[in-house]
């Protein structure tokens, strides 16, 4: 179940990555997952405040990429 915090964050989605200090705001587990999946966090849209990336955002990014591939094979 999504926590109230998650709901609160969803209400205040900030800009996507691209901070002046070059840092991509992502929680540690999301950083790890991105590395495991070979994903550049700069390509992921974070749902948290200031575009903070959570695991769910990385997972969502992976899913969003996947249909592009499967779309080529219509049912």
């Amino acid at each position: 179940a999504p926590s109230p915090q998650a709901a609160r964050e969803a209400g205040s989605v900030g800009a996507a990555a691209g901070r002046s200090d070059g840092r991509v705001l992502a929680v540690p587990a999301a950083r790890q997952l991105a590395r495991e999946m070979g994903i550049d966090l700069k390509d992921v849209r974070g749902s948290g405040p200031n575009g903070r990336i959570r695991i769910a955002d990385v997972a969502g990014h992976i899913k969003a990429q996947a249909p592009a591939a499967s779309a080529a094979a219509p049912v």
């Binding site: 926590s3 109230p4 915090q5 929680v27 540690p28 587990a29 950083r31 959570r54």
Partner: protein
């Protein structure tokens, strides 16, 4: 409602009330707070603060007993009990004085006396009527009474009476009720020299805490010399020349016996306080048990009247009252605040402490979560060793599929200080990995939180993972 005296009147200046009033003041509301006893409420005057002062004194006494291990010896120790009581009162006075100053600085009018509703926009205080567009009821709670065991605040005391340490320290002390308050006083008296017994009606002490944590905690308390009997109740108490004769009953067998004590503490719970408030005159609903319930915005059934803190419902904890106070004030000021806390931490401030936030293992299972857990014993912590406090553990409950932290349960020194991280983890929807990947300073007790998270993944370093 320009013809009202105030934008908001807060009734009761405990932690809930003064937080509400200060925040209301900060947000530019014309605010008054009514208090019939002392600013600071139960918490500052006869609750959280004086107990922690006593516990600190008791802790230092305990530490000096272990100091011999590292070669520090004390030939003769004396305790000046009047000074102990006075020191504690001094801290209370400094804090309540501070709160009064803060109310003033935030332009809050303090009205002394009992507030009674006259109608839904008027209260009477000391014969004077005051109107307001909004009210925040923060009247708190008081000790529940135990029929047959009449509190005289001399030898049979409630938590307020127990705060005044008698001279000499009572030789035999009985705590009726194995909740947080019972244990905190049990340790104070035990460390100061009393022989202490806790009796608890239910099968378990510290309701709400994780069963494993409670088992570890009671094991340590017993080792410190506190005797604990569950499923045991006190039927009646009689003051006699040689002490208080208490009839104690084994709830399961029905067997009765009489034991004699020099002081008896009744700490069987607290009940909401609404006497003299005349809530009905404002149309505010009060439950059978005396609570004034509120929604997530802290509104009662009457939309412009709010209820917060102990009187609003369980858990009766100061930090819950504070949060609710802030929420109520912000809502009145037009902000979209909500009491949306994922979890409310609980602490027994003994030494070691028992502290937790989030779901217990049983609660998590009950709610249908598939869980994993990680346990890190304090005995494997270098810092705990250097502090001479290796009892206890840190237990983390995690949802299996998502790795989401559901609860953290700590028995150990300074456990309450470690709750900061655990609480933030819960509110931020952190995973055990998030914690495990965060560098924790060495050597700190907080490394145990990291190790418990690693243990969830069977990757703890300082214990053998099974």
């Amino acid at each position: 409602m320009a013809n009202m005296d105030f934008d908001v009147i807060v009734i009761g200046a405990g932690p809930g009330g003064y937080h509400a009033a200060i925040r209301a003041g900060q947000l530019g509301l014309k605010t008054a707070i009514v208090e019939r006893e002392k600013v600071g409420g139960v918490c500052l005057n006869v609750g959280c603060i004086p107990t922690k002062a006593m516990l600190h004194a008791a802790e230092v006494m305990m530490e000096t007993k272990h100091a011999g291990e590292f070669g520090l010896n004390f030939a003769e120790t004396t305790l000046d009990i009047a000074k102990l009581n006075g020191w504690k009162d001094g801290i209370v006075n400094r804090l309540t004085g501070g709160v009064s100053g803060l109310l003033k600085a935030n332009k809050v009018t303090v009205l002394s006396g009992q507030a009674s509703f006259v109608d839904e926009h008027t209260v009477e205080v000391d014969g004077q009527r005051h109107t307001a567009s909004h009210f925040i009821i923060a009247t708190g709670s008081e000790p529940a009474k135990l029929p047959g065991v009449e509190v005289d605040q001399e030898v049979i005391v409630d938590s307020t009476g127990a705060l005044v340490m008698p001279d000499p320290v009572p030789a035999r002390m009985l705590c009726i009720g194995g909740g947080v308050i019972g244990f905190e006083f049990a340790q104070v008296y035990n460390n100061l020299g009393s022989e202490v017994k806790i009796i608890e009606f239910m099968p378990n002490v510290i309701p709400g805490a994780d069963a494993d944590a409670v088992a570890e905690f009671t094991k340590i308390m017993k080792k410190q010399g506190i005797s604990i009997e569950t499923q045991t109740k006190a039927n009646r108490a009689e003051r006699k020349a040689d002490g208080v004769h208490v009839e104690i009953e084994d709830v399961k067998s029905g067997e009765k016996r009489t034991e004699v004590f020099d002081r008896v503490l009744v700490a069987i719970g607290r009940r909401p306080r609404t006497d003299g408030l005349n809530a009905d005159k404002a149309g505010v609903a009060v439950t059978d048990r005396g609570f004034i319930p509120a929604d997530k915005q802290q509104r009662t059934n009457v939309p412009h009247i709010f209820s917060i803190g102990d009187v609003a419902g369980n858990p009766m904890l100061a930090h819950k009252a504070m949060k609710e106070g802030l929420v109520a004030a912000e809502v009145i000021a037009g902000k979209p605040s909500e009491q949306d806390a994922v979890a409310i931490p609980g602490v027994v401030y003994t030494n070691p402490e028992l502290a937790w936030v989030g779901l217990t293992e049983a609660e998590a299972v009950d709610k249908g979560y598939k869980i994993k857990k990680g346990v890190f014993p304090m005995a494997a912590s270098g810092r705990a060793m250097t502090l001479q406090q290796t009892g206890g553990f840190i237990k983390m409950i995690v949802e299996e599929d998502t790795d989401l932290v559901l609860g953290v349960h700590i028995v150990g020194p300074r456990a309450s200080d470690l709750l900061g991280e655990a609480g933030l983890a819960l509110e931020m929807a952190a995973t055990a990995s998030d914690i495990a990947l965060t560098i924790h300073a060495h050597p700190t007790l907080g490394e145990g939180v990291l190790e418990a998270a690693e243990a969830v993944h069977k990757q703890a370093i300082h214990i053998v993972n099974r």
